[in-house]
């Protein structure tokens, strides 16, 4: 069966109607992975046993003529920051090189209950810290659209796997843009839901108030379907919201006529590549031609988002990564003679340079004498950024922006300058600070063939509106 550009519906119905077996479908993807992944680097661990066991279950259901669950037989990949029971999970780090989790991430468990076939664990920047997937302790990921270029990060493997036809859909995580930016660089759909929409239980924590789990897919409908499967209250995550989950897929067909879409000037200012600007502006025109009202808005504190983010995120990371100490799991330095040696050498050996940099920054920001000046200050700026969105959403139903100021850059281009790398997230971090949902949908290519992404922001818990807009745009774009 030709696996390129398979949607969830096509894959599932092929298994349901027994045009192919789920086992054969999984094998087709493994064949593709064997031939294409050596040059891309998307997968860190393959889970053939688990995949084929699940496939067999789905095939048994289909053989009896029973209705498959919503993701029945559909091959998916999982970012390696989401724990999978009995299946090595590394967070892209050497400090967890041999770690075998005893539990499943809730989001993963929900996909498997829905019949998804887990092909393997996907490469990412170490502890989800990065915007290019060059910070993986194992190997970089290359953009399937141009192997000299980055796929984006930190969920580079998740984006590349979908773009290269090595999974029908994948899960990633987004703390500052790590789903949306790689989606835009690789030319696929990537969704960051509202904070609390999807349980974070089983997501190896980077920054607990900013982390989100979300899907990558070839189509908006597929992303909506995966979201619907994973979303909803989980008693294992006290920050998961007690808000009902709409049928995101059914809502897609509602149309967009009369919706007010905001264009924020701060996202179209200097630093935005001319081709990206042109492509996004054309997409806005398409939405206008579908009956949307385009309204200028302002998000005046946008330029302060990156500095606020890099204080809040690193501070939270410094606390979350304190657990990696060589005691209960993960790497333990062989050089350790005393307890404090063990902590320090384990962490220095096990963490890569970007992780260490962020831990140092976060520890500094929280230390005596600096807590008010940095951490508390950043939290106040966070309130201002959130108010910007609340004010804008009085006037509009969604806000459209470019996902990233540029298309994919070359490997090595920004890896020597941490600040330059951080600025790649300039259009995405705001949604993490405010907790609002955001989706990136492909809106064209640069002249040299690199994908460009259109980002749509929505109100808290209003994924329906942004999915509808993205779907309508995708259908009109062709």
């Amino acid at each position: 069966m030709d696996v390129k550009n398979l949607t969830i519906a096509n894959a599932r119905s092929a298994v349901q109607e027994r045009k192919t077996s789920a086992a054969a479908l999984a094998e087709s993807f493994y064949t593709k992975i064997a031939s294409d992944d050596p040059k891309i680097g998307a997968y860190l661990t393959l889970s053939k046993d688990r995949a084929l066991e699940q496939a067999a279950r789905m095939d048994a259901l289909a053989a009896k003529g029973e209705t498959l669950p919503p993701l029945g037989g559909v091959p998916v990949g999982i970012k390696d920051v989401l724990v999978t029971r009995g299946l090595r999970t590394t967070a892209g780090s050497k400090i967890l090189e041999s770690y075998i989790p005893p539990n499943d991430c809730t989001a993963v468990a929900r996909l498997e209950v829905a019949g998804a076939v887990i092909l393997g664990k996907l490469n990412c920047d170490e502890f989800a810290m990065g915007s290019s997937n060059e910070n993986s302790a194992y190997k970089p990921v290359r953009n399937p659209r141009d192997l000299e270029r980055v796929p984006g990060g930190s969920s580079g493997g998740s984006a590349a796997a979908v773009a290269a036809g090595m999974a029908v859909a994948t899960l990633g995580s987004d703390t500052g843009g790590s789903i949306r930016q790689p989606a835009s660089f690789c030319g696929v759909v990537g969704l960051k839901p509202t904070y609390g929409r999807v349980s974070r239980y089983g997501l190896i924590a980077f920054a607990s108030s900013l982390d989100h789990i979300g899907p990558f897919a070839n189509t908006v409908e597929d992303a909506a379907l995966v979201l619907r499967t994973m979303a909803g209250r989980d008693p294992m995550d006290s920050t998961s919201a007690d808000v009902p989950v709409p049928d995101y897929v059914a809502e897609l067909g509602k149309g967009v006529r009369g919706l007010r879409i905001g264009v924020a000037k701060e996202y179209f200012a200097e630093g935005l590549d001319t081709e990206v600007r042109a492509s996004v502006e054309a997409a806005i025109q398409t939405l206008a031609s579908l009956g949307c009202e385009v309204v200028p808005v302002s998000l005046p504190h946008t330029e302060y988002a990156i500095p606020a983010y890099y204080i809040v995120a690193t501070a939270e990371a410094s606390a979350n990564l304190a657990r990696f100490d060589g005691v209960r799991y993960g790497l333990r330095s062989k050089e350790a003679r005393t307890l404090s040696d063990m902590y320090r050498k384990t962490r220095d050996e096990g963490f890569g340079p970007e992780v260490k940099r962020r831990i140092m920054l976060g520890t500094y920001a929280l230390s005596t004498g600096y807590y008010d000046a940095y951490y508390l200050k950043a939290q106040r700026v966070r309130t201002l950024l959130t108010r910007d969105f609340e004010n804008a959403f009085q006037k509009v139903d969604a806000i459209v922006t470019p996902t990233s100021p540029t298309a994919a850059f070359k490997l090595g281009e920004k890896s020597d300058d941490p600040l330059a790398m951080y600025l790649a997230d300039i259009y995405t971090v705001t949604a993490n600070l405010a907790g609002i949902p955001g989706i990136s949908v492909p809106c064209g290519d640069t002249k040299s063939g690199l994908p460009i992404g259109l980002q749509i922001f929505g109100r808290h818990f209003d994924e329906s509106t942004i999915l509808r807009l993205a779907h309508a745009y995708e259908q009109a774009r062709g």
Binding site: I100, N103, Y195, D242, Y304, A308, D341, L376, A378, Q379
Partner: protein
Amino acid sequence: MSASGKVTDKDVAYVAELANLELTEEEKPRMLRDLNSILGYIDRLNELDTKDVPPMAQVSDRFGVDPNKAGSERFEYARREDVTEGLRKSLPHDTALANAPESDGTFFKVPKVIEK
């Protein structure tokens, strides 16, 4: 925030100790340079007057909760009953030890704490 926001070698050493990171001699100057560069950029937060702006530590106490409820009542849904008899479903002992770098079968083993 100090006017210059300049981090020194001493600061790097102090913070590394707090973070339990043993930086190598090669790593220290690079870290100093990077921290100064990043903190220099972050300094622009001082352009904003935030004295009357409340800090926002998290999203979930404002969005997705009932605004008519106050304080911990907003999170009633997140509470569970205490278990007063016996044990809730927990990680079995041997599963918990399965990833241990060193164990005696009962405890995690670590090097001695040696007084400095």
